[in-house]
């Protein structure tokens, strides 16, 4: 049923990108849960860190994740105007813009960092976001040592 269900068996030598996803409790973490309850399959490369609001995600969390070896980072929150805390997601979006520029200067491609709006009802969007990012990261390959050190 799912494309992910037919992923080829793991090739032990292959590059396995690692993604850290900061998910807000109310929308995107619930969306990730819904992907589970509806058994949507996505690659197991993501490690989710639950926060109450995407507005909680300090830019240093993202930088730290890259510095410690993440190949991609996602900050996921409620859709614009749907934030459980009124406007935390707007702040996440602003920090996202800043981070994108900053990362690009540090030599980390913009595709490695995404701010996504995933509602509690969007299990499929969560699964698709992970699938897309894994594919993108596999294409990009690992981050250069210099860029990481820069963090």
């Amino acid at each position: 049923m799912e494309a992910g269900a037919h992923r080829p068996e793991h090739d032990p030598g292959a590059y396995e990108p690692k993604i850290v996803a900061f998910c807000c409790n109310w929308c995107s973490y619930a969306g990730a849960d819904l992907a589970g309850t509806t058994r949507l399959q996505y690659p197991p490369n993501v490690r989710i860190i639950r926060v109450m609001c995407s507005g909680r995600v300090d830019p240093t969390f993202v930088l730290k994740a890259f510095a410690l070896g993440a190949d991609g980072v996602i900050v996921a929150g409620c859709h614009p105007a749907d934030c459980h805390y009124i406007s935390g997601n707007e702040k996440a979006a602003m920090r996202g813009d800043f981070l994108e520029d900053f990362l690009e200067e540090a030599g980390i491609e913009s595709q490695r960092f995404r701010v996504e709006w995933i509602a509690g009802s969007e299990g499929r969007k969560f699964a698709d976001t992970i699938k897309k990012m894994v594919a993108e990261l596999e294409r990009l390959g690992p981050i250069t040592k210099e860029a990481r050190a820069d963090e």
Partner: protein, 697 residues
């Protein structure tokens, strides 16, 4: 730029089996749940337990078939006592499901309930990587490592206890809202019922008879409406909208706009002299445009409150500045064109959302030609046309020429079970209302020929199947399995030809009818969307409000103190709506009877030593929780007003000094999780990109 270091720097990299940081690592117990085969069928739980055992701080790691069961919880309690466990990690399902369960469990063993961390092995691992068992196990081990790592940094927290205002707000005055309000009022609580329309009653007031018993809808609803209006515990705010809700369980501040109806409710006696005098006639929404009303009107004779309302858009006085015939006609000086909207502020402890549904509107260019052919109508329009108090006095006529239709087709699943338009769900009532309406038509005109085009007949409720059989066998209603592919109108007779594949006969037929009725489904109301935004409620993929748990908490929402009743949660019939309303009333009553609730202490606090008093947090907080105050040792410092803090953590994320700590989600705890997530454990990194590896391989 270098990322600021966390307060606790953590152990050097590359030592996966060690937990970063603290000199004194608290004793951690890890409980890995099999969840039957839900987790264990994919994840090798034995391996996860073994890996957990090796982690620094972990003094005991156990596996359970069902950790949430009595046995599983008993084992946690026993382990806490035997091993002196100080932090508990339960690796099972989503914390959104069982965090309260396990918090209570460890509290029973004498631990502070906030010294628990849940690792999501089910929704976010085994269920989404069912076909990659090895990698799922590897991920599970990582997740447990992250969990243990965070757990070692958890601090005990004291839940806050707050008083509960013993008053409830019910939003929506359909049958669900009415029932919920009555139940709460009868338990002795004060209730505000806010209804956007001039009268309560909702959609049920428009229906003719109800399935499967054939009770007249308004005959069973009207007495409840009157009872509600007369109940001294209920304040009915009709023609009013909820505009703003602030606060939390037990303590909500609600702003309601009472729209000007240009008739003083306290003076209007509902005599109708104004309406008789009014020269303006417009289509009556209540009769879906089949009947007419005046510009000063009540929507239907049994309206509650029985107070007239001026439709500003059509009133001649508002258009031309003249007329005022209604003012002259009124003997009580109730009509007042100068009236203005009124803003009320209410203080309530709980909220019940009963904002109902709307019926699906067929598409402009759709197959069923609803907008093109006069003799294609919807199920709700049929309800008005067979209703004794409807525009035709209950005599069914067809719109094109007013004659009595002899051949009628009912088309099922219009706007339901249709992926193309994004409504995948079954609306649950259309089969039965079509069957019920067939019965009523046959009782009025026994010689009518009725054909029902259906996909599946869903007659699942009490007495439903029996009615279905009666209509088929006693009344001779024909059921045709197949979705109509094409409708065409005879330009002279205005009759409708339906071309359809009759799947049980395996042939394509074309049959002519005098009237076609589309059994349109249910969809979330516009009011629901508005209220959902105000209350930050989540919806399920079908657009209806999402309950806290589909089986166990069907009337609760993710927001404590806010409950759901009726079709705003999903399509349902009248008995189900009433049952859910009663359940919502009982859920809302619980904290109000208890008079107090404990609320999560996940708030922020400011470390005065570090704070420079820049005030950025004051600027960013959406709740006005931080304030600048003189510091204890001088200077200006930020201070969080805890009652206003919702714990989102935006202030902490923005604080340039890192002076703000968000409880349970501290910088330090999150850094530990990041570090654990990226530790070298089980990580296989090839020097080459996959593409290159494939080429060279």
């Amino acid at each position: 730029m270098t990322a600021p270091e966390p307060q606790n720097k953590g152990t050097p990299q590359g030592e996966p089996a060690k937990i970063a940081g603290a000199a004194l690592v608290p004793k951690v117990g890890v409980f890995v749940c099999h969840c039957g085969s839900n987790i264990a069928g994919v994840v090798d739980c034995g391996k996860v337990r073994e890996a957990a055992e090796k982690l620094e701080g972990v003094v005991v790691a156990k596996e359970n078939k069902y950790t949430c069961s009595d046995l599983g919880q008993a084992e946690i309690i026993k382990a806490i006592k035997e091993h002196g466990i100080e932090r508990v990690v339960v690796a099972s399902c989503s914390p959104r499901l069982h965090e309260p369960t396990f918090r209570k469990c460890i509290q029973q063993a004498g631990l502070n309930p906030y010294l628990l961390h849940m690792v999501n092995l089910r929704e976010q691992c085994s269920w989404v990587h069912s076909h990659e068992k090895d990698k799922a196990t590897e991920k599970a081990i990582d997740l447990v490592l992250m969990g243990v790592s965070k757990a070692t940094r958890l601090e005990p927290l004291e839940a806050r206890e707050v008083p509960v205002e013993p008053t409830s707000l019910v939003i929506g005055g359909g049958v669900a809202g009415i029932q919920a309000a009555l139940d709460l009022a009868n338990m002795g609580f004060k209730v505000y019922l806010v209804e956007t329309q001039p009268s309560i009653g909702g959609k049920m007031a428009q229906l003719d008879k109800t399935f499967p018993t054939g009770d007249c809808a308004i005959c069973i609803l009207a007495p409840k409406m009157v009872e509600l209006a007369r109940n001294p515990n209920i304040t009915l705010l009709s023609y009013a909208d909820v505009e703003e809700v602030k606060g939390y369980i037990g303590n909500y501040d609600v702003k309601v706009r009472k729209k000007a109806r240009y008739v003083h409710e306290d003076k209007c006696v509902g005599c109708g002299l104004c309406s008789d005098a009014c020269p303006v006639k417009v289509d009556n929404e209540f009769d879906l445009g089949f009947g007419q009303r005046k510009a000063i009107y009540i929507p239907f004779p049994q309206a509650v409150p029985l107070k007239y309302t001026i439709d500003k858009e059509h009133c001649l006085h508002f258009k031309t500045g003249k007329c005022l015939l209604c003012v002259k006609a009124c003997t009580n000086e109730a009509v007042d064109h100068e009236m203005e909207d009124e803003i009320l502020t209410l203080k309530v402890g709980t909220i019940i959302v009963a904002t109902g549904y709307e019926t699906y509107v067929p598409m402009k260019k759709g197959v069923y030609k609803y907008w093109e052919y006069d003799n294609v109508i919807t199920g709700l329009e049929l309800e008005r046309l067979i209703n004794a108090s409807g525009p035709t006095g209950g005599h069914l006529i067809r719109p094109s020429d007013g004659t009595t239709p002899k051949r009628i087709a009912l088309v099922q699943c219009v706007g339901s079970r249709n992926k193309k338009i994004g409504n995948n769900y079954c609306s649950r009532v259309c089969c039965m209302y079509a069957i019920k309406n067939s019965q009523i038509i046959m009782e009025h005109e026994p010689s009518t020929e009725i054909a029902v085009y259906y996909n599946d007949i869903r007659a699942f409720g009490k007495g439903f199947e029996e009615l279905y059989h009666r209509v088929r066998e006693d009344y001779g209603v024909e059921f045709i399995r197949g979705r109509p592919a094409k409708l065409s109108e005879d330009p002279k007779t205005k009759n409708i030809k339906i071309r359809a594949e009759e799947t049980l006969l395996n042939k394509i037929t074309e049959r002519e009818f005098d009237l076609v009725v589309l059994s349109t489904g249910l969809r979330p109301s516009e009011g629901s969307k508005r209220i959902g935004k105000i209350l930050s409620l989540t919806t399920s993929p079908d657009g209806f409000f999402q309950e806290a748990h589909p089986k166990l908490r069907p009337v609760d929402t993710a927001m404590d103190g806010i409950y759901l009743a009726g079709c705003c949660q999903g399509p349902k019939d009248i008995p189900d709506s009433v049952a859910q309303a009663k359940a919502a009333a009982s859920s809302a009553a619980a904290p109000m009877f208890a008079k107090k609730v404990t609320i999560e202490p996940l708030t922020a606090w400011v470390n005065e030593e570090v704070c420079q008093g820049c005030g950025l947090c004051v600027e960013l907080c959406p709740y006005g929780s931080p304030e600048l105050v003189p510091g204890q040792k001088g200077g200006t410092k930020a201070h969080i007003i805890e009652a206003l803090c919702h714990g989102c953590g935006t202030c902490a994320a923005s604080c340039p000094q890192k002076a703000i700590v968000t409880r349970q989600f501290t910088d330090d705890q999150i850094y530990c999780e990041i570090q654990a997530a990226l530790s070298e454990h089980g990580r296989k990194q090839a020097p080459k990109k996959r593409a290159e590896a494939e080429v060279s391989g």
